[in-house]
Symmetry: C2
């Protein structure tokens, strides 16, 4: 799995930073989190195949998080996309998207399903689920978590020693005890549980204890750090967090790594924000456009 | 006067080329021609003050020419703009803009006037006029011409010799004959006519003889050259021109300079397009993002 940052600015884009967007590539498909203006071009510059994007998750409907949507969809259409696209966002997303389609006369040869979601499970497969959490911002806003499910894995060394082969190995992997050469082989003795990875994405939110619970045990926590701690009151008023607060969420949620992003244009150099977050949580990096992180 | 190219791609933006946009700075104010996605960021990168933009001229409502509109307007609002903004586009522009406002919940502290215009005069001041021309494209589309009015200028050398001063000089400049020290001074003997400059902007159009008349005697003709001449049939089908056709319009309209733009992504290097246009009209250059041209 790999994440690629496509935009790391807040309200104003800068020479170096585009409006928000982050791609999570899980192998067979890719998910886009937020779709700020110009994301279609950022995707091209990053050398990512846009057709791999199967699902788009929108935190909220402020321009810097959604204005890239019509252009991205038009580029899908120009590329001859046929596969369905699913878009997830807070209440009102389906209605907003309907108006955008009308305003820009967007007709596509592929189906677009827009899902209005609330706190809870947004989407689930056999392998993972995506959870949403209502964050406090100036308008309805969501955080997202990509959570892989636990998997029972075969202990290959043990199996090889007994020379067990064929379909019965699959039965062990499914947690079933089997009989092999007259002996009962207990699944639990020949398998182990592989924990799933967790990635949490919190953009545009004021500091809130509930975010700690939502981010609990993340392998990677991506968190907004629009301002520095001397702007804490202003940050709250504008519906944002400081780098210090992002660091606190990472520490208290016992996350493994923190990546701060969504920086105000006032910080041309984000080193002070990074230092501030690191004081709270050491394993922090600052996102920049086109940064790739493997999970 | 100065023009700055903010985007020179066609349907697909590339690493080097943004979707369409061109700024004409006439000194006290600036006009934006087309507003493709990401123009607000291109304006920032170019170091242009966005607040100077008083009027926006849209050729047509394809995404690559208008998707930057909501973001640019939201950035005006974030910057605390108070002055009115006038937007000119083909029939349906006011209705489309109304839907965009609703979809993106755009509320501004400044007034936005959207004008649906047809072939003819789009806008006029004492000093210049902006003309529109219905171009042939796959949807309703306009070309624009910025035309300075002729001005009567005082011949300073002659005036100084006679030592004429004060308000009566202004009367001469207004074309009135005056009496000075008993003698009749004829305005036509002490003034000359300064011709106005003309800049023509033709984007997204098929080749058409009528464009030659519209571009007549341009100081600068900005013309689309999406494809090369070996793609001529395809170009026409898609509502576009070849570099050769752009060159022909420049030559036949007796324009002074041609700038070709709006290149298909297939031409990473536009040198062959430039050569093709130059064969028809020598004084041609190829636009690139952030190219500035003084008039």
């Amino acid at each position: 799995m790999k994440i690629t940052f496509l935009g790391t600015a807040s309200a104003f884009p800068t020479r170096e930073r585009n409006h928000s967007g982050m791609l999570l590539d899980i192998g067979p498909e890719a998910f886009l989190f937020d779709c700020g203006e110009n994301i279609q071009r950022q995707i091209r510059i990053a050398g990512i195949s846009p057709m791999k994007i199967s699902r788009i998750f929108l935190t909220h409907w402020h321009g810097d998080h959604v204005l890239g949507l019509p252009g991205l969809i038009q580029s899908f259409e120009l590329n001859g996309r046929k596969s369905e696209l699913d878009i997830y966002g807070p209440e009102g997303s389906a209605e907003n998207f309907h108006m955008i389609r009308k305003a820009f006369n967007i007709n596509t040869g592929f189906k677009i399903n827009v899902h209005n979601i609330k706190t809870g499970k947004a989407f689930e497969t056999e392998d993972f689920e995506i959870l949403a959490h209502g964050a406090k911002h100036t308008i309805l806003c969501l955080g997202f978590a990509f959570v892989e499910k636990e998997k029972i894995r075969i202990n290959k060394d043990k199996i090889e020693k007994l020379d067990i082969r064929g379909p019965i190995v699959g039965e062990l992997a499914n947690g079933k005890d089997i009989t092999f050469e007259g002996k009962i082989i207990k699944a639990k003795d020949f398998t182990f549980v592989q924990k799933g990875r967790k990635l949490t994405y919190i953009l545009d939110a004021v500091f809130d204890e509930k975010l700690i619970e939502f981010a609990k045990n993340s392998d990677i926590l991506i968190c907004e750090a629009t301002f520095s701690k001397d702007m804490q009151l202003d940050a709250k008023k504008k519906g944002h967090m400081t780098a210090q607060q992002a660091g606190k969420i990472a520490a208290k949620s016992k996350s493994k790594q923190l990546i701060i992003t969504h920086f105000s244009q006032r910080y041309h150099d984000v080193t002070p924000l990074l230092a501030e977050a690191k004081k709270e949580f050491k394993n922090t990096i600052a996102a920049k456009d086109f940064l790739e992180v493997k999970i």
